[in-house]
């Protein structure tokens, strides 16, 4: 009887255990649309003056100043690549850019120091 009680206690503890690998950021932080690539979050925000991109890598906002960013907008059979400017924090901005409905938008962020590339693709609805 004691053994059963111990086992039930253990099961209860296991059931209450919090997941060890929880990640905080999978939702938009700036009202945009999010695409995850593994543990890297990309958020696109369409604004009246252009398009912003925010990037969080394994829960840490990246330093935009240490990166270059490019959007590749494919629509109506044509691709245009737009280089984004690094703003404060983890924000990049493409001034004057509009994203047409149905477009495929490839996001590529490159670490200036290591050359590592991070990316995701959005379909604009």
């Amino acid at each position: 009887m004691k053994k059963i009680a111990t086992a039930l206690c253990c099961l209860a503890v296991l059931g209450l255990a919090a997941p060890a690998l929880a990640h905080g950021f999978t939702k938009p932080q700036h009202g945009g649309i999010v695409q995850m690539n593994g543990e890297t979050l990309f958020e696109l925000v369409a604004q009246p003056t252009g398009v912003s991109l925010y990037m969080i890598d394994e829960d840490d906002p990246v330093n935009a100043a240490a990166m270059t960013a490019k959007l590749s907008v494919t629509a109506k059979g044509k691709r245009s690549d737009v280089v984004m400017a690094a703003l404060k924090g983890n924000q990049f901005f493409a001034k004057g850019l509009k994203l047409p409905k149905g477009a495929s938008v490839g996001v590529q962020v490159t670490d200036k120091a290591s050359g590592a590339r991070y990316g995701a693709t959005f379909i604009i609805k």
Partner: protein
């Protein structure tokens, strides 16, 4: 050629014909794309064996990336320690590679040697091996196209599902057209010894998507020789890789 050579060659041809020449497969290894430290890498191996890609890089003939409309994007390999990473000039939807893997011959059940028929005239199997890899890295807006240089290519015949276990029909293309008799396995990384399934008359096989993660489907098709004095067959080994995202944590 001496009369002894001629007899040896004749015997080899008879043996080859008798052993079902067109179906002889020389090498199960392949190339595929996978993520390494969040970067896109080109892998050579089989199963869990992630073998030396850097030393094989000179053999890679073509690496291409494509956008959502399958227009090419420049992509270049970059050696990063023991890994070959792929740098593309823009975020791709699809990446592809071709790696000719030499001419291999053997007599009977002996070991394969890197020799042509001219170098091993009594070979019972003589094959030119070529490896192909295609990886879907972004959402497909239109059906995956037959890509340049991919003599054998696996294409999904419907949308790639979100969940493992869902049936997905694949078509194996040879020179851009569906081909019967290609031998397919569902997961060359995690189940490399699985029983091969042959494509039917319409070039298709239907398999459940195996992994909520990386899926690498492999097709082997043995086609005719384009240089019969050097080898009797061409063994095309093609992979299609795609990843199903895991649930948010």
């Amino acid at each position: 050629m001496t009369s002894t050579d001629r007899i040896a060659r004749l015997v080899a041809l008879v043996l080859a014909a008798g052993s079902g020449l067109a179906a002889v497969s020389a090498e199960a290894h392949g190339i595929w794309f996978a993520q390494r430290a969040k970067q896109l890498a080109l892998i050579y191996g089989i199963g869990a064996d992630d073998l030396e890609m850097v030393k094989r890089l000179p053999q890679v003939e073509k690496i291409e990336a494509y956008d959502a409309d399958y227009h090419p994007i420049k992509a270049t390999p970059r050696v990063a320690g023991p890994v070959v990473l792929i740098d593309s000039e823009a975020q791709p939807t699809v990446v592809a590679a071709v790696m000719p893997y030499g001419i291999w011959s053997r007599v009977g059940s002996g070991e394969f040697e890197k020799k042509t028929l001219q170098e091993m005239p009594n070979a019972t199997v003589s094959t030119h091996n070529i490896k192909y890899a295609v990886s879907v890295v972004g959402p497909l807006r239109k059906p995956l196209a037959a890509l340049p240089g991919q003599t054998v290519q696996i294409v999904p015949a419907g949308p790639i599902p979100a969940k493992l276990g869902t049936l997905l029909k694949y078509v194996v293309l040879y020179n851009g057209k569906p081909v019967a008799g290609a031998k397919v396995i569902n997961d060359m990384v995690n189940d490399p010894d699985a029983k091969e399934v042959e494509t039917g008359a319409d070039g298709s096989v239907t398999l459940p998507v195996r992994n909520q993660g990386l899926n690498v489907i492999r097709a082997v098709y043995v086609g005719p020789s384009d240089q019969p004095t050097l080898y009797r067959q061409v063994e095309h080994t093609a992979t299609l890789a795609f990843t199903l995202a895991h649930a948010p944590e």
